[in-house]
């Protein structure tokens, strides 16, 4: 086990941790916008599965990875629009409607996969791109600057999210709608438009998060391959206190623990540490943070439908 603390292994863990953060970041940052506008979309997992399948199928059939990514984002948009309609127009209980969306995506992705692809071979996904100069720095370069394009895009999303949320009028409107929709409405901000926009954006991001699994991380599709990432993304938004930086730190924590346990499985040949417990830790930690973390930023109108007629 002493190998665990060698520089090579630690670098490897950090590198995989950053790589594995991609789906969490896309899904959780998208969900953060939905929640800041007052809507919890519990269907992220189902949307991710559809995104993962769509991207894989398109990459298999056309060989064009960018087209595949675009199609996954489009499916995410459609499912996000459906979720917006269910939450905004139908004012459905969000804790349950999201489970419906999850079952729908889970069922449809495995239906289409079994029907049209079945068992199929891996695709060639996005390859690592070494950033000139920065990529040559020892250790740091290896960890941060030798990733596939989706990793860079995921991390680029963080400052963009901070800027949109805190420095733009749109961000102000989103926050207002999530905290006090009546007030926003009385000032002429359309609550439904903002919520449609945020939930649909969350859908697009969930679609891309799913695609990042099939186009960059695993390069294969399997039934239910997201195995809970979408649900964790929803929890990460709470975990990160509804701020982009908090959500990012949470995502990194999850992916680093995942990377760590993968390496432990490789190195711990005598099975001293059961990997199941390592895999359990992020969930236990999430519960602990949910229980004892501060909840100062929770949008006051979270999960509460807005009925304009009743005001």
């Amino acid at each position: 086990m002493s190998e665990l603390f060698s520089l090579t292994v630690l670098t490897g863990i950090a590198y995989s941790g950053i790589r594995l953060a991609t789906p969490y970041l896309f899904a959780a940052l998208g969900e953060m916008f939905a929640q800041r506008s007052g809507v919890v979309n519990l269907g992220v997992e189902g949307i991710m599965l559809m995104g993962a399948f769509t991207a894989f199928a398109m990459a298999t059939w056309t060989g064009n990875l960018w087209f595949a990514l675009f199609c996954a984002a489009f499916i995410g948009l459609l499912m996000g629009l459906a979720m917006s309609f269910i939450s905004v127009n139908m004012q459905a209980e969000q804790g349950i409607s999201g489970i419906g969306m999850h079952l729908f995506g889970l069922g449809l992705s495995s239906l289409l996969f079994t029907k049209f692809l079945g068992s199929t071979k891996a695709i060639t996904g996005f390859q690592p791109i070494k950033i000139p100069l920065l990529g040559d720095i020892p250790v740091i370069g290896e960890i941060f600057f030798n990733h596939n394009i989706l990793v860079y895009l995921a991390f680029l999303l963080v400052p963009i999210a901070v800027w949109v949320l805190n420095k733009t009028t749109l961000g102000l409107k989103i926050r207002a709608v999530g905290v006090k929709p009546e007030a926003a409405d009385s000032l002429g901000v359309s609550v439904s438009k903002i919520r449609y926009l945020c939930v649909s954006f969350g859908g697009v991001m969930a679609g891309i998060a799913g695609a990042s699994l099939t186009l960059a991380l695993i390069n294969l599709f399997q039934e239910n391959m997201t195995s809970g990432i979408g649900f964790i993304a929803v929890a990460l938004v709470y975990f990160g206190g509804w701020t982009p930086v908090g959500v990012t730190l949470g995502a990194l924590l999850f992916s680093l623990v995942n990377a760590l346990q993968l390496w432990i499985q490789v190195l711990d040949k005598d099975k001293v540490i059961p990997s199941d417990f390592a895999l359990m830790m992020p969930y236990v930690l999430t519960i602990a943070v949910l229980a004892f973390g501060k909840r100062t930023n929770q949008p006051a109108a979270l999960t509460k439908p807005f009925d304009r007629g009743s005001h």
Binding site: I86, A92, L111, K115, Y283, V284, I287, L290
Partner: protein, 356 residues
């Protein structure tokens, strides 16, 4: 006049889920057409697969049993105003608990061992639902998220136990290492009612419990308080009901029923703990409860309906080569329709109020 209107309104509300299922089936028919299958042949095969023979009908009832048990737990939780998404994990720990007790006390007679194993399942599930319950009551932690996290933790716990301490010694000897426990002693099995079909005593137990939950929710003080907390927490608080305690209790009971479902699956069907014993029942149990309008007695026909879809799906798959996961798509649509159609129920209710 108001009597008539009430009946009309009640039947409108009960009919909505049925309409939801019909709409889902129609969408399913279009999907079948798009996949190049004849919907009539497909649905025909589905019905035949679920009800065509005594064996298949009993199989439908066997599948309906865990759905009903989980659904009853969901009814109690939702009536108490809390959302329990943790059915999957609670089924898993329930199955693990029942298996552990049954394997630990192989010399006990069946009259003792069977109830003990069932109780072990109930307690395991109650603890698994109780942790989110206590966190909700004491610290205000969102129970949707914690129950989902508890699902993942239960899955890892089961992986660990079924590959390590609880693995069938035969699997180790044969070096196949299939993640499953040893068979539980025969005296702990739930009696088969109609051999060679798999129908077992658990089905009757579930129906009796459905009546029990109805009596509990509508004829006991504790049940009344749970419903009061769910209907209007602030009014319940002014009436002197300790809201957090009853929310936690609703989650504990929800977990207990799902845990029992896991125990019944092990003791009635597989006779050992398997990986994947929850089989999605944690989620389809929610669909069952919603379709039954969160009424324990309504959950009985709902569980038979969704049990039949699950059983018939295999036959449909063979008849028209459309994967059985179509059923999952339909279940998802049913959930979405039922929660979305609630808006009409609420609108009618508020109209009734304003009209006097």
């Amino acid at each position: 006049m108001s009597q008539v209107r009430r009946i009309v309104n009640t039947s409108f509300e009960t009919l909505l889920p049925v309409v939801g299922v019909i709409v889902a089936l129609i969408i399913g028919a279009f999907m079948l057409l798009a996949l190049g299958a004849n919907p009539i042949t497909a649905y025909g095969a589905l019905i035949e697969g679920a009800f065509g023979s005594q064996y298949s009908f009993m199989q439908t009832l066997v599948k309906a049993t865990p759905l009903l048990l989980v659904g009853l737990g969901v009814c109690i939780a939702f009536r108490g105003g809390v959302i329990n998404i943790g059915g999957e994990g609670q089924i898993i720990v329930g199955g693990l608990g029942a298996t552990a007790i049954a394997l630990a006390l192989p010399n006990l007679p069946g009259v003792l061992l069977l109830p003990l194993a069932l109780i072990a399942g109930i307690i395991s599930g109650a603890i698994w639902g109780g942790i989110p319950g206590v966190l909700k009551a004491r610290l205000g932690v969102n129970e949707i998220l914690t129950t989902i996290m508890m699902n993942a933790i239960a899955q890892q716990l089961s992986n660990f136990l079924l590959r390590g301490p609880m693995i069938d010694p035969k699997e180790v000897l044969a070096k196949t290492y299939l993640p499953q426990s040893a068979q539980v002693p025969e005296q702990a099995w739930l009696m088969r009612l109609l051999p060679p079909t798999l129908l077992h005593l658990g089905t009757i137990l579930a129906v009796v419990l459905a009546i029990g939950v109805f009596v509990f929710l509508w004829r006991t003080i504790i049940g009344y308080r749970i419903r009061a907390v769910g209907l209007n927490p602030s009014a319940a608080k002014y009436a002197g009901i300790n809201v957090p305690t009853y929310q936690a209790l609703a989650l504990v009971l929800g977990g207990a029923f799902a845990g029992l479902a896991g125990a019944v699956e092990v003791l009635g069907v597989s006779h050992r703990m398997l990986d994947g014993v929850s089989g999605g029942y944690g989620f389809s149990g929610i669909v069952t409860a919603l379709f039954g309008k969160l009424h324990p007695l309504g959950s009985i026909p709902a569980s038979v309906l969704f049990g039949s879809l699950l059983v018939g799906a295999d036959k449909m798959q063979r008849a028209v080569q459309v994967p059985a996961s179509l059923i999952q798509v339909l279940l998802g649509l049913v959930v979405i329709f039922v929660v979305s159609s609630d808006i009409w129920v609420r609108r009618r209710a508020s109209k009734r109020q304003t009209n006097g």
